[in-house]
Symmetry: C2
Subunit: 333 residues, 2 copies
DNA sequence: CTGAAAGCGCTTACAG
DNA sequence: CTGAAAGCGCTTACAG
């Protein structure tokens, strides 16, 4: 059916070895005239190399597995896009799997990717994830965690400097005149979100006797419901740092539904800073995770065996939800 | 290095054929005792089948290519998630490629996927896309377009009934008392967005002498800027149907920045209805594309060679941006 | 610089 | 029910 290397060799009157050398520009040299004949034959026949056959023999599939803790989360989704793009610039195809926050599915995906002979494995994990990368190491496949690394895993991690970014957020709200700065996070303090929570605690402890810590599930719905409840009870803080975009968007949604003005009645800063956060109403002030840099470092780590980078800087991007006056709806950056 | 079928056969004292029959439950029967020995040997050695080798021999890779017109668009991203999930339930892995609205990249991705011997190709195209699926057909690989099919392509398409859904949106705004209903769409009228625009025209033509058609790029930034400009010129309509979520979110963002109340001053209905639309401020009334059904039909089409489905129903989901009073921030449905 | 041949790890007729 | 062997389409020593 399909045209094979052997067909091209026959047509060009040469061996399959030579055709392979021409197609791959090596590893042996080929005479210019022979090369021309091979190229012509390949073009005439419409030859397309079978990557599966190549993968089996050369032990390089050209494919990398990307395991996502949850694809519905815009922050993870944005990270995934950047990783896919970084992989493409390394000539790799991306096998994508969405675990939907299910650790067992995360593990299964990683194993199926390994069975598919991926050249590397990138895992965008959230807390609660199993250590899937260690099995990759056992199979001799390079792996990297992005955003979060499960306990006891030794695979390299690429992540931002959560401590510095939360400190910047606290300072910024204080500059706006807020003396009490609450923090909204998820049910527990694992992983990056835990670091953010601890950084907040550290930053407010010298100034506030009873820092206000709020918790709800990591979802828009939960955060919206929480804000509406607190509004009804007149228990809302005046300024809050929110651990994740998902919750921050929920906060804005709940505030809108409760008729609460942001930032006048409630100032908000979020800690993910996915592109979506620029077009909320009002636009969300964030400390933006450096998604592109994270993706690039992760992929470099996979293939250039570079050293793990230091924690990456997450810049504060002032928009309207903190009280800054900025041109609305500009480019997200 | 890795354990192979031959290793298992040796350990179990049988042939590779039998091991293969056991691993795949066929196609030949195996005596129960033999099967036990094989299973035990495989477990002891930690055997994991090499999918690449299987793919080469059996001509089935277990992988499907998914070409996305643009992954940054939450509507396309949501569609991609559902397709990935539908593929997983068919036991297929997903090779994901993001064309970033570049037709040439879309073509390249499709070809690389075909070279990788995918078992099928799903293309979530936008207007301007080249016909990449026809090349799949030439290679004997089943393909399907989702959302939009380029001109002259003969590959099956799975899409929603845009006409009916826009008619429902017009009726709904009329029910809210609006007599003039504007429409905001992109620079031209190709594909599904073109159908939506024509359906609007049809629906308002009998009632409005000069229906108001607005255009801007398919981005949040462009729609936000347009709304702010119109607000400054006091040229804003009172009710608008927006062709895409991206633009609708931009409209809300621009309205917020201009201090314009939605829905009181401007009622909005959007036509994609990705999950994100439920948590805008205010929550967005949408005619929701049936993403899950679209994904399921598309995947069934690929593997069960089912007949192309009729245009799918897109239900109107009343939220707050049209003027309805609904519990805010409920589940997105 | 080129060709004949082995081999990647499987599946699958074929023969028994 | 089982085994010996061919072959999927490539790459890569090896010999010339």
């Amino acid at each position: 059916m399909a045209v094979t290397l052997a067909d091209v060799a026959r047509r060009a009157g040469t061996s399959t070895a030579v055709v392979s050398y021409v197609m791959n520009d090596g590893p042996r040299p080929v005479a210019a005239a022979t090369r021309e004949r091979v190229l012509a034959a390949a073009a005439e026949l419409g030859y397309r190399p079978n990557r599966i056959a190549r993968a089996l023999r050369a032990r390089v599939s050209g494919v990398v597995g990307l395991v996502l803790a949850d694809a519905s989360n815009p922050y993870f989704a944005a990270l995934a896009r950047h990783i896919e793009q970084a992989l493409e610039s390394h000539g790799k195809l991306t096998l994508l799997g969405n675990a939907g926050f299910d650790p067992e599915r995360q593990r299964q995906l990683a194993e199926r990717f390994l069975d598919a002979q991926v050249d590397g494995l990138a895992v965008v994990s959230s807390d609660g994830g199993l250590d899937v990368a260690t099995r990759a190491a056992a199979a001799g496949v390079p792996a990297v965690y992005v955003h979060h690394r499960p306990d006891r895993a030794r695979t390299p991690l690429v992540a931002a400097d959560n401590e510095a970014s939360v400190h910047a957020a606290v300072e910024h709200l204080r500059w706006h005149g807020h003396r009490r700065i609450a923090f909204l996070t998820g049910p527990d303090d694992v992983g990056p979100v835990g670091e953010r929570r601890r950084a907040w605690q550290e930053a407010v402890a010298p100034h506030e006797r009873e820092p206000r810590l709020l918790r709800c599930d990591f979802s828009r719905a939960a955060a919206a419901a929480l804000v509406q409840r607190l509004a009804a009870e007149d228990m809302l803080p005046r300024a809050v740092i929110v651990a994740t975009d998902e919750q921050a968007i929920g906060v804005l949604s709940g505030a809108s539904a409760a008729g609460l003005a942001v930032p006048d009645r409630l100032a908000v800063i979020s800690c993910d800073g996915a592109p979506e956060s620029a077009y909320t109403a009002p636009s969300l002030t964030v400390v933006a995770q450096p998604l592109e840099a994270m993706a690039r470092y992760a992929v470099d780590l996979l293939f250039d065996r570079a050293a793990p980078p230091p924690a990456l800087h997450a810049p504060l991007i002032p928009r309207r939800s903190c009280g800054c006056v900025v041109p609305a709806a500009g480019p997200p950056g």
